[in-house]
Amino acid sequence: MSQTDSQTATPLLQSLPRTLATAIRDTLQLYTDHPSSREREQLVATLAQISPVGIFRADADGQVTYVNDRWCEITGMTLEQAQGNWSQAVHSEDWEQVMAAWTKSTQTRQPFRQEYRVHRADDTVIWVLGQAIVETDEQDQVVGYVGTITDITDRKQVELALQERATELTYVNTMLARTTALLKKRNQELDQFAYVASHDLKAPLRAIANLSEWLEEDLDELLPTESRHQMQLLRGRVHRMEALINGLLEYSRIGRLEAEIEPVDVNALLMEVIDSLALPPTFTIIVGKNMPTLKTKRLLLGQVFANLISNAVKHHPHDHGQVTISVQSQGGHYEFAVSDDGNGIAPEYHNKIFTIFQTLEARDTKESTGIGLSIVKKIIETEGGSITVDSQVGAGATFRFTWHP
């Protein structure tokens, strides 16, 4: 083999495992150093035998003249079969592509390199990487081809599995997008429903309230005190129902409301909230000194505080009392606490109070719809936080919630 040949062989060597490439290079060197050595023939034979890739050689017409054992192993063909027609082992679906590439390589003298399937005699199908280069003589005439065949079934299987996963992932993503779109639509429907329901439900209520008032007015002295009281009860129920409808509407709006994120001085926010609640002056509200300034949805945080503070006052057993608001920084987020010195809540009710429309007292004794705490919980959870209550009967209650800026 001439120097040119060993140079032509270089691209092929680069694609082989390093140790094998080194071995082949050494052999080629041996060829050059001892062109007639017996030793070299033996070395080539050994090399061909231990090679993890199949090796073949073909003449200028593409007729196979040599294959090593590994080649026979991979293709499942004998040398005789290979000499007949080596291409018969190529999988029918890949045959055309392989032949086209081979023809192109022989015409352009460029290295051949194709990944394709081999249909073996035992009917198993494997993936191979076939490579070949052109051998030329001193006159630059093609004398033949030498090449390798590598079993890449394992890699191909991983690739195919990966492709399958990718397809699966794409499918799941599509489903997710569709579900999101559906959810958005459902939310819009719910919004519309809430509006219609609140509008259409409130109209008859208003009529009932008006009619009872007119009855009372028209009958005036004719109406016994008891009936007059019943008329008042009737209107009280009407107003409660209206409050329920309004609360429901408010509850359904949370999470769909686009609240703006802005820097919020919590101390100032609390002052504003407390002022707007117009609490009885007999109640003392103590705000901790270390209130932070954070970037958050001002409207929502204010709504949470307003509900918790007004709840503490509304459900207080006395007409005087104290509500304390404190805060603890916990790394990335804050934990706020609203404590009162009221009656406290028995532990068995701690979960129940956050459920919509649940109140612990008879509805007539307090102006309460049972929506406030469920609104608070929904806001906090929508914003990624959580709320807990810490209370014993007779020892006041502390509502603690986490808030992520």
């Binding site: 509008h199 309230a209 007119w214 209206e242």
Partner: protein
Amino acid sequence: MEKPVINILLLEDDAVDVMNVQRAFKKNHIVHPLYIAQNGVEALAMLRGQDSEPPIVPSDRRLILLDLNMPRMGGIEFLRELRADPHLQSIPVVVLTTSNQDQDRVEAYHLNVAGYLLKPVTFQSFAELMATLNKYWALCEML
């Protein structure tokens, strides 16, 4: 001198809401004649007159109080018909509704309403609203 009457046409399908207006008139001693139509079709007939009969609502000094949610022909649809009729297009219309939807409000003003009022929840507030309305229209020079 006696104040001239205003011929008021109320478009309202809810009987209690009609009573609401009537009682508010009574409470404020408003004596203008009040004509009632339950939907837009009925109202147009009362304004135009049928079979060469004169219209039920006298054709001068007219004012329309309009509810938006009505069967057969809703308030906005009625307004469109009204503004398209050369004989009726100049009648002032005050919308009286429970609908606070932006779309209704915008459409109503596009059709040149003289006012857009939300029905108050309590009768007391409603009666006050009617009194204010009466005072305002008493000041207006009408066609």
